[in-house]
């Protein structure tokens, strides 16, 4: 089944104010940067964004925050972003912080038809407030619910016309689970190839989870912390 759309604006068709979006990536690694730029252009507002981080001030989801397009962030770590901090402390931005592993599993569960699950992460902390606690094997666990989204926007290294995706190195991170959990999943790839060119043994995300795929026009791939050693 051909999932290819011609460009980013066609890919993002149907995204409206007040929707919930999942956005793949960890830090600035593996983020759908072409789609984020297009969301800024579209100016859609009151978005709920589910993403591990909130970008930095002038890149990634930070760009949406600067335009005040985000009503609520669901994330695990939001440091390195002053505008985010300002909006959160002033109450302009709703923030739901959840443990990283719970965030990943909640997305996976959302895509896998599991409505909720028990995890030990967060027991005895603020995260557990209002959540059911049950003891398994002598250890307390809290009930976490699945997450889904109107649209999931993910970024892959290579994709084929069927929507099958391959990720590179640690740019995989949240992208596969979010691809599963979107009602409509948009994949932005660095290289789009004809069906049959990817080795079926090596595909990370099967095309069944992807509704639209396009090749991004340009990827800046900004590095957040450049650390090197000398030769």
């Amino acid at each position: 089944m051909n999932k290819v759309v011609s460009n980013v604006s066609e890919a993002l068709k149907g995204i409206e104010d007040n929707m919930t979006l999942m956005v793949g990536g960890f830090g600035l690694c593996g983020i759908p940067e072409n789609s984020i730029a297009e969301l800024v252009k579209l100016g859609v507002k009151n978005l709920t964004c589910i993403s591990n981080n909130a970008g930095v001030d002038n890149f990634g989801l930070g760009l949406l925050l600067q335009q005040k397009q985000v009503k609520k962030m669901i994330s695990s770590y939001v440091g390195e972003n002053d505008e985010f901090e300002r909006q959160m402390l002033s109450g302009e931005l709703e923030v739901d912080l959840i443990p990283q592993g719970s965030l990943a599993e909640r997305c996976r569960a959302g895509g896998a038809g599991i409505p909720a699950f028990f995890t030990p992460a967060g027991y005895g902390t603020e995260v557990a407030e209002g959540k059911e606690v049950r003891v398994f094997n002598g250890k307390p666990h809290i009930l976490e619910s699945a997450l889904t989204a109107d649209f999931a926007i993910v970024k892959a290294w290579k994709g084929d016309t069927e929507g099958n995706l391959v990720f590179k190195a640690t740019a995989r991170n949240f992208n596969p689970m979010m691809a599963m959990a979107g009602k409509i999943t948009i994949a932005e790839v660095e290289e789009l190839v004809p069906a049959g060119e990817l080795d079926p043994n090596q595909i990370h995300t099967p095309g069944i989870f992807v509704q639209r795929i396009f090749q991004g026009e340009k990827f800046e791939k900004r590095i957040e912390q450049r650390t090197v050693r000398s030769k």
């Binding site: 960890f26 830090g27 600035l28 690694c29 593996g30 591990n52 994330s75 695990s76 770590y77 939001v78 440091g79 390195e80 901090e85 959160m88 923030v95 912080l97 443990p99 990283q100 592993g101 719970s102 965030l103 990943a104 599993e105 997305c107 996976r108 995890t119 030990p120 992460a121 967060g122 027991y123 005895g124 902390t125 603020e126 995260v127 290294w157 990720f167 590179k168 190195a169 640690t170 740019a171 995989r172 991170n173 949240f174 992208n175 596969p176 689970m177 990370h204 791939k221 900004r222 590095i223 957040e224 912390q225 450049r226 650390t227 090197v228 050693r229 000398s230 030769k231």
Partner: protein, 218 residues
């Protein structure tokens, strides 16, 4: 003399055992990778999705797609593997990782840890810390004994929002190595030249002190 950050990392590195998979947190814990004892093999997991984390890349060889959980550019060792975040935390929650080393703002004598939030001042989020401390069998905390105002961070009870309860087994500070058991800190070793009295005076929590407290050998 009290240890510096490298000293703390060196002491924690002595806890590594051959064949272990280890998750190192941001800050002092990251330094532990530089002091793996000779003759043992360990593999480092970073929760953003790599097992087999290598040293920083040479200048000019940085890859934006290859970072650690601190968002630093890294390399992959021979035999390394990449995976998604759900798989990564399956390794952690499923207790396939043998040791977690992380930093803390406070620890308490029953093993509680606080390291993600200072109400009204700093909210960066917990990242993977809550999953790590809730699941790891073996957690070592690398931290300073007191804060900048000189107040002890080794407490009867944590005052900051918790990251996990009853989970910390061992604490290594610039002054001492302490074990946590039976609701108390137990002094195991002291930093070279640091007196037991100094450690007692800087520890707010209950501290069990044996007759003989050996100096660390670094």
């Amino acid at each position: 003399m009290a240890l510096d950050k490298v000293g703390i990392a060196k002491r924690i590195a002595q806890e590594l055992k051959d064949g272990w998979y280890v998750n190192l947190g941001i800050g002092i814990p990251t330094l532990v990778a530089n002091y793996i004892p000779e003759g043992i093999e360990v593999e480092f997991q970073s929760e953003n999705g790599i097992l087999g984390m290598g040293p920083f890349p040479f200048e000019g060889e940085e890859d934006a797609d290859l970072i650690n959980a601190g968002k630093q550019t890294i390399t992959a060792t021979k035999g390394a593997v990449f995976f998604d975040s759900a798989m990564s935390f399956a390794m952690i929650r499923g207790q396939h990782v043998q040791l977690t080393v992380l930093g803390a703002m406070e620890v308490s004598q029953n093993g509680d840890i606080a390291n993600w939030k200072i109400p009204g001042k700093m909210v960066k989020g917990m990242g993977g810390a809550m999953d790590l401390v809730a699941s790891a069998d073996n957690i070592i905390v690398a931290m300073m004994h007191s804060n900048k105002a000189g107040e002890s961070k080794i407490l009867k009870e944590c005052t900051l929002p918790l990251t996990g309860v009853g989970c910390v087994k061992k604490v290594v500070t610039e002054l001492a190595v302490m074990e946590i058991k039976d609701g108390k800190f137990h002094l195991i070793e002291r930093a070279p030249g640091v007196s037991v009295e100094e450690i007692i005076s800087k520890t707010e929590g209950d501290l069990v002190v044996p007759d003989n407290v050996p100096e660390m050998v670094l």
